[in-house]
Amino acid sequence: MLEVPTYRRSRLSGELPFRILTLGSVLFSASVVVALVLVIMQKSQILWPVEAPLTFLTSSGWFGATDPSGVITAAFGAWPMIWGTLVTSLIGIAVAAPIGIFAAIYLVELAPKRIAALLTFLVEIVAAIPSVVVGLWALGELSPRLRDSIEWWIASSLGQFIPWLSEDPQQPSDTSVFRAGIVLAIMITPMVAAVSREVIRSVPQSLREGLVGMGATKWETIRLVILPTAKVGLFGAVLLAFGRAIGETIAVRLVIGMNITAVPTTLFQSGSSIAAQIAGAYGEASPIEKGALAGLGLSLFLLTMSLSLTVRLLMWRSANKMVARA
């Protein structure tokens, strides 16, 4: 006779706690993000009755005080910081995007295997450099060098007709917006290159062969097939790197100069950025000033969040396109 084993009650007892645990982790993370936004929003509340958000965002100058009778005056202007954040990041991405994408093309399409392996290894090493170390180097080594070479060169040539590229020849500044942009470029280039590399690698080999089979040169293959096909992914890579540049605090702070009361008239003068200002001013801030800092933090969060959302939506859309074709 066959011995039929009796079933134990299936051990569903472990399943529910596990699901709760894992779901709980997701919910916890979500609530951290939500809490972050709410807390910062709440801390900025103190400012809005005294200064309208629009004024805050568009004016310059950084002053606020509470007089003995409790009356608060606030004239915090976030505009120089917003301007600084955007301009430095734009300079950074304008330099890093073409260089990073070309470097990725080189790695995928042109480099012989050994060199590609070596370069990839080097990129690993270089990615381990903490941003504060890049800032240290920029402060000591890069900044004076850039000031005395490139900035001087541009100012004395293009700067003669373009006011925002000029500088005072007697007193070139120790810190500048331009240099902060260059430091950001150096920092985010590996990121652009790494993500672009993945995007370019995912272009199917059959497309390359199709063009080569028609007698196209290597550059023509890159120009006519690889770049157009990878366009969306590359744009996403650039946006991601832009988001990183916007949030960078320390390297920028060391090099930009903390001129928080006005937008500089040329790129070669000191400026400031949102992140740098928050990192600098929180210490001795009065409650009203903390409110202003929270307002700054809020605008920074809005900037980075819209970038993250845009990238993810782009990726979803292009994934949909691929599926539709198949």
């Binding site: 910062i40 470097a103 402060l139 320390i250």
Partner: protein
């Protein structure tokens, strides 16, 4: 029959002037691309050399074991602080990140998974200064400027790194493995833990190491939370020093000795980050992420 092409290739295989022009354009373009690749890497390689040349002269044992108030000066409290706060942070962040990654990949419906993807994107994109600001507003009033506050800020930054990496490696585990286990009557949660995760364990560990790497390299959030101190005793309830903070505070000094300390600290920090990153790479290459 249409007109023949003005430049029908024919079979003579000689190069038309247009062909030669294309060849030249090709060579020029490829040369530019090569130069771009070099420009991309050169500044950072230069930094590595500078770190070594400026940091090595002052690197010795006493630098690593002395406190900042002793003579000769040392960064032992900064090293301790960095390691302790990062350790506390990863102890909190890793389970949350791994569990979250498991849920999003194994249990979530397609829509929930999409929302989760978005959530991790946003969380990854949070600038570190804002994590610091958040903890400064929320935790510091309760716990004061302390190691706990610093570790909390780091936790916020580490969770998405672990979660994303976990989700991605779990996605790579073939469906067949899960099905085989379920077909044997193993409950789903055990399948997930003992089969799927075990297969992906190497990748999950990679995610943890990457998060640790991020934690060690952060400066801004610590400035707002754990700040700094010269105390060499490890006390999480008090402000704690960290290597990144030391570098930052010393960087702008006019005293060359102080700047030298910054460079040597940078060397120690970089070496640590390098060991972590390379170890991850080795492991991945040898175990092929599974």
């Amino acid at each position: 029959m249409s007109q023949a092409l003005s430049n029908r290739p024919g079979l003579d295989f000689s190069l038309t002037p247009h062909d030669i022009k294309r060849r030249r354009v090709n060579q020029l373009a490829l040369r530019i691309i090569q130069i771009a690749a070099i420009i991309a890497i050169v500044p950072l390689i230069a930094i590595v050399f500078v770190i070594a040349s400026k940091g090595l002269p002052h690197l010795n044992l006493s630098f690593l074991v002395n406190g900042p108030l002793e003579r000769p000066t040392g960064i032992v409290n900064a090293i301790q602080g960095s390691l302790v706060m990062t350790f506390v942070a990863i102890v909190a962040a890793a389970p949350v990140g791994i569990a979250g990654g498991i849920y999003l990949n194994e249990y979530a419906s397609r829509n929930v998974a999409r929302v989760g993807e978005l959530l991790i994107d946003v969380m990854l994109g949070i600038p570190s200064i804002l994590a610091g600001l958040f903890i400064y507003f929320a935790i510091v009033p309760i716990l004061g400027h302390s190691g706990w506050a610093g570790a909390s800020a780091l936790t916020v930054l580490m969770i998405p790194v672990v979660m994303r990496t976990t989700q991605e490696v779990l996605r790579l585990v073939p469906a067949g493995l899960r099905e085989a286990s379920l077909a044997l009557g193993v409950p789903q949660w055990k399948t997930t833990v003992f089969v799927t995760c075990r297969t992906a364990i190497s990748g999950i560990m990679t995610g943890v190491v990457l998060a640790i790497s991020r934690g060690l390299g952060e400066t801004a959030p610590l400035l707002l939370t754990s700040q700094s101190s010269n105390d060499t005793a490890i006390n999480l309830g008090q402000p704690m020093n960290a290597m990144t903070v030391v570098i930052y505070q010393n960087a702008g000094s006019s005293d060359p000795q102080v700047v030298a300390t910054a460079w040597t600290t940078a060397l120690v920090l970089f070496a640590l980050a390098l060991i972590l990153n390379v170890a991850v790479r080795f492991k991945t290459v040898n175990n092929r992420i599974f």
